[in-house]
């Protein structure tokens, strides 16, 4: 049981341990506040709320940046599941700006207890909404890791289609696939879907540029079941500029076609990695950078909410008192965690049953809840 009055420093909120208090009616994490301490708390909270508002703006910008990067490569992605991560970050960023503006306002009003009482009824719903949005940050972070297989699958299908439609530069709607894939391969230094051999399985030269009167072309096309012109060649965008020799694009598996060339030992000629791997690494790198930032924003936001709760409860104890300079206690929860949860459940039930027509189930339910609370 953790039922001690913690006289810790104002901002040592290392006691963020929400330990379940077994059966006691003691408040959670009580702290005594003298008048001076309350003033300091209000001032510190006001500053902290500005910091948190700024970090909310930063979260929004990070979400926006991630979304822009995902949209840029939208042509090689099949599904848009991964977009939920930047969308969440943007929504939470905007919400946190609002939450912190409100916290700053309450803080300013806390110095004057008459103005402070007008906020009384709004505080509990406000805390509920704020906690919800703040926890969305953690959800966004978790999703960014959980959706990685989705991203990979989406890229796999998208790149496969891109490579298939590479030659269709005359088909409306697909005419930019060639340019997209070429620029992607040059920028990310990759070739094909899994590796460069993906190009061997696709006809990437349009029939418009194949001389069907030539014997060689006819042989190749007929040697294939689907009548496709397949060859062991890759587009120019697969070429690696760091190679010491001019790029070898055609007859890649034929050692005798090029002087001093061994297909098995040649490593620098083309880009070795596949575009799927390159893009997944790039996006995961982005999300790994954004992750710690989101975590720190989460901690800042939670400290704002906790400070505001302490301020609210400390000020609420002053209600009806003549002398504002008396010492009061602030706490996170008035009763233990279990009791608070039960009370919340009952309040919700009452709210829901206000809308219901038949009154009979209501007393029965209320009795059952009371029975549980008593035990």
């Amino acid at each position: 049981m953790l039922c001690q009055n913690i006289h810790c420093g104002l901002f040592e909120f290392c006691c963020f341990n929400w330990i379940i208090i077994s059966g006691g009616t003691m408040a959670v994490l009580k702290i005594k506040f003298s008048f001076q301490r309350r003033v300091h708390l209000a001032q510190g909270l006001w500053l902290l709320s500005w910091v948190a508002m700024f970090s909310g703006g930063v979260t929004f910008c990070m979400g926006l940046f991630l979304k822009m990067e995902l949209l840029r490569r939208a042509e090689v992605m099949h599904t848009t599941d991964i977009h939920v991560v930047p969308n969440l970050l943007m929504v939470v960023g905007l919400a946190s700006v609002g939450i912190n503006l409100f916290a700053g306002r309450v803080c300013q009003d806390s110095m004057d207890s008459t103005r402070f009482t007008q906020w009384k009824n709004v505080m509990i719903p406000y805390f509920g909404v704020s906690l919800f949005f703040t926890s969305m940050l953690i959800v966004a972070m978790a999703l960014s890791y959980a959706l990685q297989p989705n991203l990979e699958e989406s890229l796999k299908v998208g790149l496969k289609n891109g490579i298939r439609f590479y030659k269709d530069t005359d088909t409306p709607g697909r005419c930019f696939q060639k340019e997209t894939i070429d620029r992607l391969q040059v920028e990310f230094r990759c070739c094909g879907n899994t590796n460069f051999k993906d190009w061997f399985e696709v006809q990437w030269i349009s029939n418009r540029y194949l001389d069907f009167t030539s014997k060689e072309v006819n042989d190749r096309v007929r040697s294939n079941v689907d009548g496709r012109y397949l060859m062991d060649g890759v587009p120019f965008s697969c070429c690696n500029p760091a190679s010491p020799r001019p790029c070898i694009q055609e007859h890649l598996t034929d050692n005798s076609a090029h002087f001093n060339y061994d297909y098995h030992s040649e490593e620098l000629n083309l880009h070795n990695r596949g575009c799927r791997e390159a893009l997944v690494n790039y996006f995961m790198g982005l999300m790994n950078t954004i992750g710690p930032c989101v975590l720190s924003v989460f901690f800042v936001q939670m400290s704002v909410l906790a400070s505001l709760r302490y301020l609210q409860t400390a000020m609420a104890a002053l209600e009806g008192q003549e002398n504002v300079e008396v010492e009061t206690e602030g706490y996170i929860l008035e009763k233990g965690v279990k009791e608070t949860l039960n009370e919340a459940k009952e309040t919700l039930k009452k709210l829901l049953q206000l809308g219901q027509v038949d009154a009979e189930p209501a007393p029965g339910d209320a009795e059952a809840a009371e029975g549980k609370a008593a035990s």
Binding site: I205, Y209, F236
Partner: protein, 345 residues
């Protein structure tokens, strides 16, 4: 007759001092901005110095960096003088330095003006440096086994890809050099031997370009080899084919890139000059108005401020006389010096 005289009461003086203080802070930011522009320009030149044979002139970016630092210092001092100007005791210690400071500012503005002009004119020297550098770069494209030049191929390929250009003037520059190293040429083959022998210098020349010249926007897969031979490729006419490889030369591409950068920097330096002139004029008015208080004991009295104490002609004559006297003060013949002084007065 003073030039552009303006009457000042206490309120006007206070407003001038406050506005000028803000302008001085703006000018400090502008100084930092000029410094960072110089730094950015220097970094960009360094990045592509291989394309310019590593002997490009860093004079202009260095000048910008120095000017930015000097602007920061001068404007911070000016701001301090301004801040102290409304308190007579504090201002008294700065009073003797103000005149020298204003002369210094004037000189600094002239320096900024020269820098801006240089920004615009340096493009010519850059043009020639690039022409020479690219020619040599292409010559060493194949030397990937020579220490010191082994990265030229990669640099040139990346430049052509990034700036969407091919060759020095255009892609035909690649036809005139051997860009495939002898290590990768099969000298036992007849074709290779024929090509090499058909050439006076024994170079393996061909009408092909490296892969980095390819344009990704082309509807057909890139044609790199036998560019001038229509029969080598199906449905290909090298006279009408425009999208296959980049048609622009890398010199033109790089010159327009750097030219754009330098034009913007030059224009911004001109704006900074305008700001500096404005703060100089403001400080001159402020100091003269504080000097000419009708009642020196009473800070609320009226005063006059001006741009120049005498007319422009007289001021210039005064300055020339001063310079002459300074020069002749060093001369041994004292009689001539006295005569010159007598003539002026």
């Amino acid at each position: 007759m003073a030039l552009l005289k303006v009457k000042f009461d206490l309120k006007k003086r206070v407003k001038l001092a406050q506005g000028l203080w803000l302008l001085y802070w703006l000018a400090v930011m502008a100084g930092i901005f000029v410094f960072s522009m110089g730094l950015f320009f220097k970094v960009e030149l360094r990045k592509r110095s291989e394309m310019m044979d590593n002997n490009e002139s860093h004079f202009v970016p260095n000048l910008l960096i120095l000017a930015g630092l000097a602007a920061c210092g001068l404007n911070a001092f000016g701001g301090k003088v301004c801040h102290d100007s409304l308190d007579a005791t504090k201002f008294a210690k700065w009073k003797p330095m103000v005149k020298t400071y204003l002369c210094g500012c004037f000189g600094f503005n002239v320096l900024l003006f020269i820098t801006a002009l240089l920004c615009f004119t340096m493009q010519f020297s850059l043009y020639f440096a690039l022409a020479e550098g690219l020619k040599n770069g292409m010559k060493f494209y194949r030397d990937t086994d020579t220490p010191g030049r082994c990265f030229m191929k990669r640099t040139l390929d990346m430049t052509q890809i990034e700036f969407r250009c091919c060759g020095n003037n255009n892609f035909r520059d690649w036809f005139e050099i051997q860009w495939i190293s002898n290590r990768y040429l099969d000298f036992s083959s007849d074709e290779v031997k024929d090509r090499v022998l058909s050439n006076v210098e024994g170079k393996f020349l061909m009408d092909s370009v490296p892969f980095s010249c390819c344009n990704p926007g082309s509807p057909r897969p890139c044609i790199q080899h036998h560019l001038t031979n229509n029969s080598a490729h199906y449905d290909y006419d090298h006279h009408t084919e425009e999208l296959n490889i980049w048609t622009r030369g890398c010199r033109e591409a790089l010159v327009s890139y750097y030219g754009g950068m330098m034009n913007s920097i030059g224009a911004l330096v001109f704006l900074v000059i305008c700001l500096e002139v404005a703060v100089m004029v403001g400080l001159q008015y402020l100091t003269t108005s504080l000097d000419t208080l009708a009642n020196p004991e009473d800070p609320e009295s009226e005063s006059e401020g001006w741009l120049l104490e005498k007319t422009v002609k007289e001021t210039v004559a005064d300055v020339m006389a001063k310079i002459k006297s300074l020069v002749k003060g060093n001369q041994v013949e004292g009689a001539e010096g006295e005569q010159a002084v007598a003539t002026v007065s």
